[in-house]
């Protein structure tokens, strides 16, 4: 039998991502994608059941890569400060290196497409759970619901990231994240989380 041309699938996924980021889900079509990737429309249906399947597959893969990157060098035994800093840096590094991937994830997450899915990564959950328990034991973290922890520990970080990625952020400024600013916010967040 004929062997699959891996370049074809890679081209399909890459062009799909770019098209969605530039034109949104309504500007994205299978025929345009085929043209952009240099394949026949029918070829796409060898790799994916249909349009929705392609979009879901794209989201799943990118989300997995994102989480894996966030957990790089992470261990639940790290101190709250070191662990949080590492995760922030990991995430920021990925986002700045792959802004299109992040735009895609955010666009997907905030669209109705997300309703047909169940996003959750048990490896990630286990890590975070252990991380919190250890921090509480060590007296670095007050006892609180996981969602509240997440909101305080990651909400400010992601707000900063979004300002960074916008041309004009809120006040008309051109805000850019620096290590110094990130450290400044980390200190504030750690103060908030302290028992």
């Amino acid at each position: 039998m004929r062997t699959r041309d891996e370049n074809k699938e890679a081209a399909i996924r890459e062009k799909a991502l770019k098209m969605i980021v530039k034109e949104g889900f309504d500007g994205f079509s299978m025929q345009k994608l085929a043209r952009a990737a240099g394949v026949s429309p029918a070829t796409i249906y060898i790799y994916y059941k249909n349009r929705e399947d392609l979009l879901n597959s794209l989201f799943n893969e990118i989300h997995k890569v994102f989480i894996a990157n966030a957990l790089e060098n992470f261990s639940p035994g790290l101190s709250l400060e070191k662990g949080l800093w590492l995760q922030w840096k990991n995430r920021l590094g990925f986002i700045l290196a792959n802004p299109a991937h992040f735009f895609f994830l955010e666009q997907f997450r905030h669209s109705p497409l997300i309703n047909h899915k169940d996003i959750s990564n048990s490896e990630f959950k286990e890590n975070m759970k252990g991380f919190c328990i250890n921090a509480i034991k060590r007296g670095e973290l007050a006892r609180m619901e996981p969602e509240i922890f997440w909101a305080v520990a990651y909400g400010p970080f992601y707000s900063l990231v979004k300002f960074h990625l916008q041309k004009k952020s809120m006040m008309g400024n051109d805000f850019k994240i620096t290590d110094h600013k990130l450290k400044q916010v980390l200190k504030m967040v750690l103060t908030a989380l302290k028992p």
Copy 2:
């Protein structure tokens, strides 16, 4: 001359909002909208130049209403705690009363449609600026960049809101905001913002 039927435009806007929230921008079409609103496709073009104009108009109006609601009873002279609490409560009240409006705003904001626009409300900016200056003078707030203030003061709040609106939030729980939890997070945020 014949007079405009205001019910028609209201129906168009309402059905457009619902369709977009349920089916996304790619599930939304002018012909489906006309059918849902009980008008002719051509009628929509009396009120809006084209599809993009309709979407922009919808976003502008809803965003304006949202900001106006957030500023209700607000004054830059309020203490940091009172002012922040009021804004959180205003926003939460609106979002819970009009979840579809919030979904629409978020979906639009995270789509490429937002690139063609310039979101900024000078009345809101003036209010926030005065609010911060006063809080700094009073010693309730450390001096910091506006984006950092926003990230710490509103990032956690919006994270909570998003958990509340999801069926299964992160850890598989069914998280719901209560006044008590909101106050708990407010205390944490105020601690972080203190000089």
